[in-house]
């Protein structure tokens, strides 16, 4: 930070009192980043971009939304029909939630494939899981606000999960509702929390970045940075790459917003909430489906709820469950295949979660649930002991510079070869 120099008197004046420019210089410009990051490393910054889009569209939606059970549904309809560009703001926001989850799921899977959760990045991983949990809560709360049938019954089913807790469960549910069923008090508090949580996520993202900048980025080889040759400065190399990624992502995102805005939605949510009638087939939003499938696979109420939460919490133990010392899946021939099998298992669970329960579907769901937990609790701990990893390269720059890795050339000019 002391290296920061400026000739601008205003900047110098501010810098002396609040070292904000040197901090930016240090963590967004000079920040030494592994030179070999591939496109899977774009998804963190993409998710950060999406968080900003969600907060921005959300703040403007609130200007026309009414959190009251008698008016909420119609206020959303008014946003769609009468408010200038209201349809755009709402579709950006509702599709944005799905996009945010797609990005974060890819980001998590990236971390799982390349072993980004392993020492010394355990806390970085944990903060990431906290962000993911906060996102799930925020997404659920937000889905209730339009007060359609799926909003109402989704809220009813999810809050009722807590009634599975012995003794205090029913009291907790009444407390969550602020009444004897999901109603106006529930809608009001969900709105309040839906507005609050994104800012909590924002704060957590800073903690995530703080941890990241302390331990530095992992990379596709999963080996440590050994010399300055292994890195390039964040700006302009990764700023431009992230910007390019945002451009590609926007094409994907906006094609839904403009051409298939209800692709991720449920038609039933365009029916106003009716507490006296449950829709024939309730499904949660797609991003909860694998966990919903796990919930339904267990034939016991409390057991189902415990299994569902365990499916997420098991991720916290991943850094210690995976016994292999090699980070990157690239050098682990068996792990690599099992990773894709695990991913396929998640898709199967997602499919099961979307089906009407039938004996066959339930059976598939049970197998997939068992495999999901087996991957974490049996396969990963054992695999590290039996699998023979392929040899790791000497350094990040070695394969790029064709053996020039240890000969550290001043003439190698790594910056220009990136």
């Amino acid at each position: 930070m002391s290296a920061y120099k400026t000739n601008n008197k205003v900047v110098a004046w501010i810098e002396e009192r609040l070292p904000i420019f040197s901090m930016l210089q240090h963590s967004a410009v000079e920040y030494p980043t592994p030179r070999n990051l591939n496109y899977w490393w774009n998804f963190g910054s993409l998710a950060g971009f999406m968080l900003v889009v969600m907060i921005l569209t959300g703040v403007f939606l609130v200007m026309n939304y009414t959190p009251n059970t008698h008016m909420a549904f119609e206020s959303v309809d008014r946003i769609m029909r009468d408010v200038n560009y209201g349809w755009l703001l709402r579709y950006l926001h509702s599709n944005g939630a799905s996009m945010f989850f797609i990005l974060v799921y890819i980001h998590i899977m990236r971390g799982m494939y390349y072993g980004s959760y392993k020492a010394p990045r355990e806390l970085l991983w944990w903060v990431g899981i906290a962000i993911y949990l906060a996102m799930m809560a925020t997404g659920f709360l937000g889905y209730v606000l339009p007060w359609g049938q799926m909003s109402f019954w989704g809220a009813t089913v999810i809050t009722n999960l807590f009634s599975a807790i012995p003794v205090v469960g029913p009291h907790i549910v009444t407390w969550l509702w602020g009444g004897f069923s999901v109603g106006n008090p529930t809608l009001n508090r969900f709105f309040s929390l839906h507005y609050l949580f994104p800012f909590v996520i924002f704060a957590l993202v800073f903690v995530h970045l703080w941890a990241l900048h302390t331990v530095k980025s992992n990379n596709p080889l999963g080996i440590d940075v050994k010399s300055p040759q292994d890195t390039i400065p964040f700006h302009p190399y990764y700023t431009i790459k992230d910007l390019f990624g945002i451009g590609v992502f926007l094409m994907f995102y906006l094609s839904f917003v403009f051409f298939a805005p209800n692709f991720f939605g449920e038609p039933d949510n365009y029916i106003p909430a009716n507490p006296m009638m449950t829709p024939p087939h309730i499904v949660p939003e797609w991003y909860y489906l694998p966990f919903y499938a796990i919930l339904r696979s267990i034939p016991d109420k409390l057991g189902g709820v415990v299994a569902m939460f365990s499916a997420i919490l098991v991720l916290l133990f991943l850094p210690w469950l995976d016994s292999s010392k090699v980070r990157s899946g690239k050098f682990r021939p068996i792990f690599k295949q099992l990773f894709w099998l695990f991913l396929a298992d998640c898709f199967v669970l997602g499919w099961v979660g979307a089906q009407v329960p039938s004996p066959n579907v339930t059976l598939i769901g049970r197998f997939a649930t068992v495999y999901y937990f087996a991957h974490f609790l049996v396969i990963l701990p054992l695999l590290g002991k039996f699998e023979k990893a392929r040899p790791l390269p000497a350094s990040i720059s070695a394969p790029v510079l064709k053996g020039g890795g240890m000969a550290a050339g001043a003439h190698a000019q790594p910056m220009e070869k990136a």
Partner: protein, 184 residues
């Protein structure tokens, strides 16, 4: 502070234990006080006085014929009132000694055998079971069938099959006269 280290060992420990006491006392008061201050915030989320005030509903049941059922709202929840047929009543009584998950006799669940009053909320995850209309599926036991996760209830509203842990809840109610019920 100006005292050299060699001076008066006992007074140092005295001072430390007094400081320790003050530290613990202050911390305890702080923690307990913060906890107490949180209580109004937590309690504000429980049902408000006006919500509690809406807690009773009176229902006219004179128009409900034998075999028919009506759904009324009580505390924002559906309440099923079914005018049971003699066959339904005998079915319910016959099952009193069956292998029930949540054992209850039919007689414990009704004020008058021909009228079954239960909260129409599945005890699994809170969906409204089907079975009020003649065209609805009623499951294998002639009561209600929950479309969400497939729980099945008998003609006494007892859970017989599926994931729900308990029988449909019987709300507190009383017959004010022969054709009016007060729920709550």
């Amino acid at each position: 502070m100006a005292d050299p280290a060699s001076h008066a060992q006992p007074s140092t420990t005295d001072g430390q234990s007094r400081r320790d006491f003050l530290l613990y006392a202050t911390s305890t008061v702080g923690v307990v006080g913060t906890g107490l201050a949180l209580w109004p915030f937590v309690q504000s989320m429980n049902p408000a006085a006006d919500t509690l005030a809406l807690a009773t509903t009176e229902v006219d049941i004179s128009k409900v014929q034998v075999g028919q059922a009506i759904t009324v709202a009580w505390r924002g929840k559906p309440v099923f009132i079914r005018h049971r047929t003699p066959e339904e009543i005998s079915e319910a009584r016959a099952a009193d000694n069956a292998d029930l998950r949540d054992p209850q006799k039919d007689a414990q669940r009704v004020e008058k055998p021909e009228w079954l009053v239960v909260i129409g909320i599945c005890t699994h995850l809170g969906c409204v079971p089907l079975g009020q209309k003649p065209t609805d599926p009623r499951g294998e036991f002639g009561g209600w069938f929950c479309p969400c996760h497939g729980s099945q209830y008998d003609t006494s509203g007892r859970i017989r099959k599926g994931p729900a842990p308990r029988n449909l809840e019987v709300p507190k109610y009383a017959f004010i006269n022969d054709h009016t019920i007060r729920i709550g």
